[in-house]
Amino acid sequence: MIMLNTIGLYTMFRREVKRTFRVVVQTLVAPVISATLYIFIFGTVIGTRIDDFAGVPYISFVFPGVLMLSIINASFASASSALYFMRFTRGIEEILIAPFSYVEMLIGFVGSAVTRALMVAFLILTVGLLFGAVNLVNPLMFVVYVAAISAIFAMLGIIVALWAESFEQLQVLNTFVITPLTYLGGIFYSVTFLPPLAATITHFNPFFYFADAVRSSMIGYSEANSAIGALVIFGLVVTLGILVTYLFRIGWKIRS
């Protein structure tokens, strides 16, 4: 029985951090610029003409969703591009021949993507705090939910990277599922503004719970049942974790 390959996992994280800084404009600078623009537009241009939402300025309501969008993009892009590139160059064989269990492979790929997402989250949070756009009422809850949501999208990124046969296919899930559901998940508006049917449907959109959890940890305002939200988020983490471990175990698209 071999213990957890901690040095191996650390090496996977280290390699991803190096890759993140190799394309730092794309991975870290771009999300920070976007967040700053959101603060300017929703805080100064539009926000000053909109009444407070649930007792908070509009920018404070929107900003957690903007941060969530950024961490979703960061974790999905990190996991999908890293794994797809490794499949493309056969660099994945370095991982396959090394002493990693299938669970360790999962931890390695997901942990690397979450590491990048956390860097993005803390940079955007810093921008938000500096401009006074947002608070952080529950730091522990913030870190846990950011990590959990990033893990979900890292695992979706892994599944897409395993399935995709071209760089274009890497964008399919993002374009047709993630982006629409994100924008319909109550990032820019309160679900209380919606007609009853639309509000009910929104409660079946997991992105509504993702945004609500991050918002709740940052400004203390929540529109969802927090227990259902936690169940959806951690249920997805566990379900996708089992699925990805299974895919690694059978070697789907990576082991001939």
Binding site: N5, T11, T89, E94, A98, P99, R255, S256
Partner: protein, 244 residues
């Protein structure tokens, strides 16, 4: 007692890709300290066999043991015993030789100080000092092969598998590499070598097997392959032509 355990034991290995049988019920026993040449035409099943040993491919049937450890049931431990220099460059082309060795050493769980010392030795041994920080994609064919060998050796495996390690390497470098491989083998390391350069096999190996159409069609010591004054190449051609 442990000396009786072979370095590699393959029992009735079959590997199918759909209906295509790439490896067909082969069995091999390679004793510790052997320098084993695995020969065969393109597509004969050499690389597939190597992939099954190292975990890149999953065997359809059969059993593979490295130093007595099952590569499927106890795959994590088995993988610590093997180093692979593959035929194709399966690397991040933006990484440098130093990084490739560092990452692979890390994957194998080697602590930083020990890893750094080994990398220094390998860089010196393979004369990569001037190229240690050059991206893989910018290296010549010979330097790429040396970087791959360094990567395969960074965790000091008991069993070293070299799949066409001198393809694209010039004559002088090839001879230097041969000397190094001989030195390692004399130091006790078990080596499996595939190559289309049969003089290389004849010079280095003491045991040889020929695989064709997924089956082992000849196996023996180098002396047996060279009986009656033949070269390994002559015997190889006779065996392959007899299969047609």
């Amino acid at each position: 007692m442990s000396e009786q355990i072979p370095a590699l034991e393959i029992k009735h290995l079959t590997k199918k890709y759909g209906d295509k049988v790439a490896v067909d019920d082969i069995s091999l026993n390679i004793k510790k300290g052997a320098f084993f040449g695995l020969l065969g035409p393109n597509g004969a099943g050499k690389s597939t066999t190597i992939h099954c040993i190292t975990g890149i491919a999953q065997p359809t049937e059969g059993e593979i043991r490295i130093d007595g450890i099952d590569v499927v049931k106890d795959y994590k431990l088995a993988r610590t015993k093997v180093g692979l220099s593959p035929q194709e460059f399966n690397v991040d082309i933006f990484a440098t030789p130093e990084q490739l060795m560092d990452y692979m050493g890390g994957y194998y769980g080697i602590p930083y100080a020990e890893r750094a010392a080994r990398i220094e030795k390998l860089i010196a041994r393979f004369d990569l000092e001037k190229h240690r920080k050059v991206k893989f994609q910018k290296l010549s064919g010979g330097l790429k092969r040396r970087a791959m060998l360094g990567r395969a050796l960074v965790h000091t495996p008991d069993l070293l598998i070299l799949d066409e390690p001198t393809a694209g390497v010039d004559v002088e470098q090839r001879h230097e590499l041969w000397a190094y491989l001989k030195e390692m083998n004399e130091g006790g390391k078990t080596i499996i070598l595939t190559s289309h350069y049969l003089e290389e096999i004849q010079y280095l190996c003491n045991e040889i097997a020929i695989i064709n159409h997924g089956k082992i069609v000849a196996e023996g010591t180098k002396e047996e392959f060279m009986k009656e004054g033949k070269s390994v190449e002559q015997t190889y051609l006779e065996v392959i032509r007899a299969q047609k």
